[in-house]
């Protein structure tokens, strides 16, 4: 288990390999379909959203306000990443993203962008909404709520020991491709 904490530098990301388990501490911004489409169409981000050298989490969390009016995240599992495949490479390039967190893996364009810019794809455990919500220590802010609605808005989370697995590294390796090829070959033996 490797600990990942800020500053998230390209060097730290280049040291990671496919199959490494990490615990992330620091700031995550959520972003899913609406955010990616917005950026792809040349949209701007609010100044508080500093994605530079940052981590982007594909997640539509359930966040409620507690008695004192503070945000509290009650469920925060990853959503399927492949939907952002047409856009992700661009966001990685434009913001020097260091990590993209989601589930299900991504395709060749993202793989190439990770390699070129020193970024990794981190797979969180799909469905583990409660465990992952517990690792969110603070909801620091929410942006573009008006435009996109709660699940699609950009949430800023401070996380501690948020577990994930490197499944695409910055050296052109993809665990998804490897497992697919190996399982396909194995299946052929049993048909």
């Amino acid at each position: 288990m490797l600990k990942l904490s800020p500053p998230f530098t390209a060097e730290k990301m280049r040291a990671l390999k496919v199959g490494d388990e990490v615990l992330i501490t620091g700031t995550l911004f959520t972003g899913r379909d609406a955010v990616h489409k917005h950026l792809h169409e040349g949209g701007k981000l609010p100044p508080q959203v500093n994605l530079q050298n940052g981590m982007l989490y594909h997640c539509g969390p359930v966040v409620i306000k507690d008695d004192q009016g503070r945000w509290k995240c009650v469920a925060a599992g990853p959503t399927t990443s492949i939907r952002e495949e047409p856009y992700q490479w661009q966001v990685i390039r434009d913001y020097n993203l260091r990590g993209v967190i989601g589930k299900g893996g991504m395709g060749d364009k993202t793989l190439a962008a990770c390699k070129e810019h020193g970024c990794v794809y981190l797979h969180a455990i799909g469905g583990a909404a409660q465990v992952l919500a517990e690792r969110i220590k603070r909801v620091c802010g929410v942006y573009m709520m008006e435009e996109f609605g709660a699940p699609e808005a950009i949430w800023e989370f401070e996380v501690e020991d948020f577990p994930a697995v490197v499944t695409i590294d910055s050296h052109g390796n993809s665990l998804h491709k490897d497992v697919f090829a190996a399982s396909q070959a194995e299946l052929a033996k049993h048909l």
Binding site: T80, K103, G104, G127, Q130, H176, V179
Partner: protein, 292 residues
């Protein structure tokens, strides 16, 4: 609130926050199978922690609380209209209380009115039986795993799958291969051989009402179910597609007649967050027994 509505609300709550015992046993078993220290083992550990946490906090196991599907068995003369109205109220309340996410969207406008009510939502299936009992089963079917379901029309040339059980085996295993990494495995398959495109998928989903460790009364299908699980677990796909020993926790297969021209194999996929519960109701709507 009336008794029936209270009972249905409790059924929804428990389905959303607690994994049924048979599924939990299968998950613990798979955790034991995975190699200590592997990524597969830590994925299963996190899944197990998540199950405990959801139950203790009475919060949804997964934030995608899925499509809400009721299966009702009732005697002749049971008022289905009243049941449906009551079920809709219970769904609305469960959503307000956070046991269900605001999860139902108008397919054209994209609007979500936050009630989980609309055309086809919730879905209800009624079935009459001779006994006086009323039984209600509920499945919350997540979207990620629904997306990896597949329907094959045999013969399938690409997979060299003909119109026999061997052909069925080939396409079912292909569905497992294609689903990897998506749909939050380890998964459970519900399969229907035959029927038409609609009844086939419908019957495949009803297989999720069976317990994971039951046996198929048809010995040929029983053999195929066990073979599919054993073979899938040799492929090395593992939890979340990380690589590992558990790819499937179970496979349940049923058969419907078909017309001579068609031969469909419909495969539904259920994620590890397998939310299914059921209750027997007394005449006044009170829960007399939990079914899983």
């Amino acid at each position: 609130m009336n008794m029936l509505q209270d009972s249905l609300l409790e059924l929804i709550r428990r389905t959303s926050v607690e994994i049924p015992e048979d599924v939990h046993r299968a998950i613990l078993n798979s955790l034991e199978q995975e190699k200590k220290g592997s990524i597969a083992a830590s994925a299963m550990q996190i899944i197990d922690q998540n199950i405990a946490l959801a139950k203790n906090k009475s919060q949804p196991i997964c934030q995608d609380t899925g499509s809400v599907i009721f299966y009702v068995e009732c005697p002749p003369g049971y008022d289905q209209i009243v049941f449906e109205e009551t079920a809709r109220k219970a769904v609305k309340t469960a959503t307000k209380k956070g046991f269900l996410r605001q999860n139902s969207v108008d397919s054209i406008t994209g609007k979500n009115d936050g009630t989980n009510l609309g055309p086809g939502a919730p879905a209800l299936h009624f079935h009459q039986h001779r006994s006086a009992e009323v039984g209600v089963k509920l499945i919350l079917k997540g979207g990620g795993c629904e997306n990896v379901g597949a329907q094959y029309s045999l013969p399938n040339e690409k997979l060299a799958a003909g119109r026999d059980l061997e052909g069925c085996r080939k396409v079912i295993l292909d569905a497992v291969l294609q689903a990897q990494g998506k749909g939050c495995g380890p998964g459970i398959l519900g399969v229907c051989v035959g029927g038409d495109r609609a009844t086939g998928y419908e019957a495949s989903k009803q297989q999720f009402l069976r317990k994971i460790d039951d046996n198929n009364p048809n010995p040929e299908l029983d053999r195929l179910e066990k073979d599919i699980v054993a073979t899938a677990n040799k492929l090395g796909i593992g939890p979340m597609g990380f690589g590992g020993k558990t790819t499937l926790l179970g496979a349940k297969i049923c058969v419907l007649n078909r017309v001579p021209a068609s031969y469909f194999v419909s495969v539904s996929y259920m994620c590890w967050a397998y939310r299914r519960q059921g209750v027997s109701l007394e005449a006044d709507g009170k829960i007399s027994q939990w079914l899983y």
